[in-house]
């Protein structure tokens, strides 16, 4: 009987490994992010954007290297570091040389180390890790390595932009910091403290605290403290249900100032905030769609909507990631030698269709790009999110944000 079970296991194992070797011509990109579980909506939407970007920007234009197509394969990591490492191994065995991941800096930390060890131990099957959304500054500072590239601005760069906007706002004199109790939340708080201290003598930080991540059922006690502190602006790095819960609770309990944040758009959050978030929610991010910077962007967005009517194109950096990878492969003249591709990506200057250019800084593999402060509103929104009438509109732009920001990275090149 036991042998029977083993036989079943045997056939199942050989199935997965055999099934995928048929399409050898495509350049495979493994998308390792949550596709099931509580964070699945963000992951699935990201996968759709990658598939669309690869199809629209590369395959429909004839591919790279004279006709080779990109193929994005989704791997469900269930937002678990352990599963991510298993899926990484499966992806590598399927001939994938490019890994994209973004949700959760914890997973990104695990992946970047695993990729570094893998590349050291298996020089024949090296892979690149293209990080499109994990913004823990450590990834391009003390934990940086040659194989990791970040296409999103890190938490420090974004906080730099947020604090610029706060200092320029004469209504803000007292700021309250609140965030999730983990590496990213702490990085946000530390950066906010540092930048506000450097940039202004008059703005006072009246609260600085962390709450357990993903465990808070009711944010009312926190919002009471915020209101009681007399703060007229809130900074938070919260995302997902924690962002929605905190934001709704703060607004509901009588807070009237702006809430500056990173992730309060798309994935159902824009629709759920609706009218109540208008004029309150301010976000930082790259790539503007409202107002649309060019006809090219409008076409791109409309084509995406035609395919995914309920979807959001809320991560424009995904298009940049695909575009820059395609150019690096063209420049390197090969997709198999990832060292050559990585060298081509290093220091690349890329004109993005969303306006401005992107510089992949060679010293730490951090993309330097224009950052915008957005406002959650339903006015002048050409491309709303979540099938609602609300979306985000640019109110402020910082060009090439943090181009001279320091890094502690000591890049070791092979």
């Amino acid at each position: 009987m036991k042998k029977l079970t083993k036989l079943g296991a045997v056939s199942a194992l050989s199935l997965i490994i055999g099934a995928t070797s048929a399409f050898a011509e495509n350049i495979k990109i493994a998308f390792i992010d949550p596709l099931s579980g509580p964070f699945a909506s963000t992951g699935t939407n990201g996968l759709h954007q990658f598939e669309f970007a690869a199809d629209y920007l590369v395959n429909q234009k004839g591919g790279v290297l004279g006709g080779t197509n990109f193929e994005v394969i989704g791997f469900d990591n269930k937002i678990s570091p352990k599963e991510s490492l298993i899926q990484l191994q499966v992806a590598i065995d399927q001939g994938v040389r490019y890994i994209v991941q973004g949700n959760s800096s914890g997973v990104a930390n695990a992946l970047t180390e695993a990729v570094e060890k893998h590349n050291k131990r298996n020089p024949d099957s090296r892979v690149l890790f293209l990080n499109y959304a994990a913004v823990d500054p450590a990834l391009t500072n003390e934990k940086c390595n040659f194989w990791h590239f970040r296409f999103d601005a890190n938490a420090d760069l974004k906080m730099d932009a947020i604090t610029d906007s706060i200092v320029a706002n004469p209504d803000v004199s007292k700021v309250y910091l609140i965030g999730q109790d983990y590496s990213f939340g702490k990085a946000v708080a530390a950066a906010a403290n540092r930048f506000l201290g450097e940039k202004s003598d008059t703005i006072e930080i009246v609260g600085d605290e962390l709450h357990p991540i993903g465990k808070v059922k009711d944010f009312t006690p926190y919002s009471r403290k915020i209101v009681a502190s007399g703060a007229n602006a809130v900074i938070t790095g919260n995302w997902g249900a924690d962002m929605l819960g905190l934001g709704k609770s703060i607004i509901e309990n009588g807070f009237e100032g702006p809430i500056y944040t990173y992730y309060a758009a798309g994935s159902g959050i824009t629709a759920a905030f609706g009218e109540s978030g208008k004029g309150t929610i301010r976000l930082v991010g790259e790539g503007k769609v409202n107002p649309s910077p060019s006809q090219e962007v409008s076409d791109y967005y409309n084509a995406f909507l035609a395919k995914h009517p309920d979807g959001n194109l809320d991560q424009t950096r995904i298009a940049n990631t695909i575009g820059m990878l395609a150019r690096a492969i063209e420049e390197a003249g090969t997709a198999d030698d990832v060292v050559a591709v990585a060298s081509a990506l290093e220091g690349m200057e890329y004109e993005t269709m969303f306006g401005g250019k992107i510089l992949m800084r060679a010293s730490d593999h951090q993309a330097i790009q224009d950052l915008h402060i957005f406002e959650h509103t339903d006015e002048d929104i050409a491309f709303p999110y979540d099938g609602s009438t609300f979306g985000v509109k640019v109110i402020n732009t910082i060009e090439m944000a943090g181009a001279d920001s320091p890094t502690t990275c000591e890049m070791k090149r092979p």
């Binding site: 296991a9 199935l15 490994i17 352990k82 800096s105 930390n109 695990a110 298996n122 109790d181 395919k307």
Partner: protein, 431 residues
């Protein structure tokens, strides 16, 4: 290896058998050879990774079953013992002087010792009673330690966890464990060793008394055994092997995070153990293999893997409370009576249509999911190597027909199967 551990007092034959410390060598040799040969059948690194994950789950599930199956203690927080053992191993890995002084295969022992240490502390107060009190204390302690993992950054590393590099250990006969295959053999060695030790433990007087305390603590007390201390010893031993599993995890993944401690992991190991069957020593082994395959392999094929896993699990609990192992062992009496042949045809008549019907049902589920959630204009979907348009009527009719016919035939032939089963289980008769 297939001895039934559950002693059913109503069956005199089983009462008589308890107490022997003998070890049947046969199954273990088969297991060892199988472990050795597996990498020759599956050569790819991902297969090795998946198998490593399987063996780690096997050790952990067997350790868990020392509590649940053999001791009758339901724990909702057993992941913390594996997790703490693993974290301890990570810290040893990062302490380069200490780590360089012994070879890597020794490391899981330290994991075991730390898991055991924690189990001794918690067990001191939690094993005073079994049942709900024990279960709720384990839940509380599990939540506490999981919550500590993001607060006490010095030991647990916060959300990003603690990572290290296994290759800095003292080379083991020149091997630095650079490749997956090296790690595979290390893990296989430990899974075999732990399984043998745990099996022997279940044969010791303490292991036997654990069964007695599970079934009737009062009588065990009358016999002069302290039910509490028997539970305590089981708990500590279980903590040791859970810690070994944690140490193996540390070697395999070179990183431990909060997920190794949280209640979801504790819940998963409960599911794994129960799915395999708590009544038999080898039950958790089957559970671990099946669950890892579902979680890792099925999730590559479909987003709905958790849905299927949940359904499989519910069906097991409702219809085969003995788990998969129990299902297999149901056939032992038939086999002994030499009437297995009588069952083959009825089985084929019922199970093959049933399987086809269930696959048809899965097709319907997948098609509904695709219809509702796929991109607009993306009407094409592929199921079982067939590509079709999910927005036309034909595939639905086919899938529905397959389901109806398959399940219909199964339902029709089920009474005959039942008859054959009863017949086969009756001694004497035609044979």
């Amino acid at each position: 290896m297939t001895d039934q551990i559950t002693t059913d007092p109503s069956k005199p034959a089983q009462r008589m058998r308890a107490g022997s410390m003998s070890l049947t060598v046969g199954p273990w040799i088969v297991a060892a050879v199988a472990l050795m040969l597996m990498p020759y059948i599956f050569t790819s690194n991902s297969a090795l990774t998946i198998m490593n994950q399987m063996w780690i789950t096997v050790v952990f599930a067997l350790a868990y079953n020392m509590l649940l199956g053999q001791g009758g203690m339901l724990s909702f927080g057993h992941a913390v013992y594996a997790g703490v053992g693993g974290f301890a191993c990570m810290h040893i890995m990062n302490n380069s002087d200490l780590f360089a002084s012994f070879p890597l295969p020794v490391l899981p022992i330290f994991g075991g010792l730390f898991g055991m240490g924690l189990a001794m502390i918690v067990g001191a107060f939690s094993t005073r009673s079994a049942g709900t009190v024990f279960a709720m204390i384990s839940l509380g302690v599990g939540e506490l330690i999981a919550a500590c993992s993001v607060i006490i950054v010095a030991f647990f590393g916060g959300e990003e966890g603690v990572s290290g590099d296994r290759t800095y250990a003292m080379p083991f006969f020149g091997n630095e464990f650079l490749q997956q295959i090296d790690v595979y053999y290390l893990t296989s060695f430990w899974v075999l060793l732990s399984a043998i030790l745990m099996y022997l433990w279940s044969r010791t007087p303490v292991g036997r008394m654990a069964n007695a305390v599970r079934d009737n603590p009062e009588r065990a007390e009358f016999l002069g055994y302290s039910a509490r201390w028997v539970r305590f010893y089981s708990f500590v031993a279980s903590g040791f092997f859970a810690g070994v599993a944690g140490g193996l995890f540390a070697i395999n993944y070179e990183i431990l995070t909060e997920e190794n401690l949280n209640t979801a992991s504790s819940g998963v190991i409960l599911l794994v153990t129960f799915l395999g069957g708590v009544g038999f020593f080898f039950g958790p082994i089957i559970g671990a293999i099946v669950f890892t395959l579902v979680q890792t392999v099925l999730s590559l094929q479909t987003e709905l893997w958790a849905f299927y896993a949940g359904s499989l699990f519910l069906a097991t609990v409702m219809f085969f409370p003995g788990g998969l192992a129990g299902l297999m062992m149901m056939h032992v009496p038939v086999f002994r009576l030499g009437k297995m042949k009588m069952l083959l045809l009825p089985y084929a008549k019922t199970l093959i249509p049933a399987a086809i019907g269930i696959l048809g049902l899965c097709c319907l589920v997948e098609m509904t999911f695709h219809y509702r959630h796929a991109a607009t204009g993306d009407h094409e979907m592929t199921l079982f190597w067939t590509t079709f348009d999910s927005h036309t009527l034909m595939p639905w009719i086919i899938a529905a027909a397959i389901t109806a016919v398959g399940l219909g035939i199964a339902k029709m032939t089920a009474p005959a199967l039942k008859e054959a089963w009863d017949e086969a289980n009756t001694a004497g008769g035609t044979s």
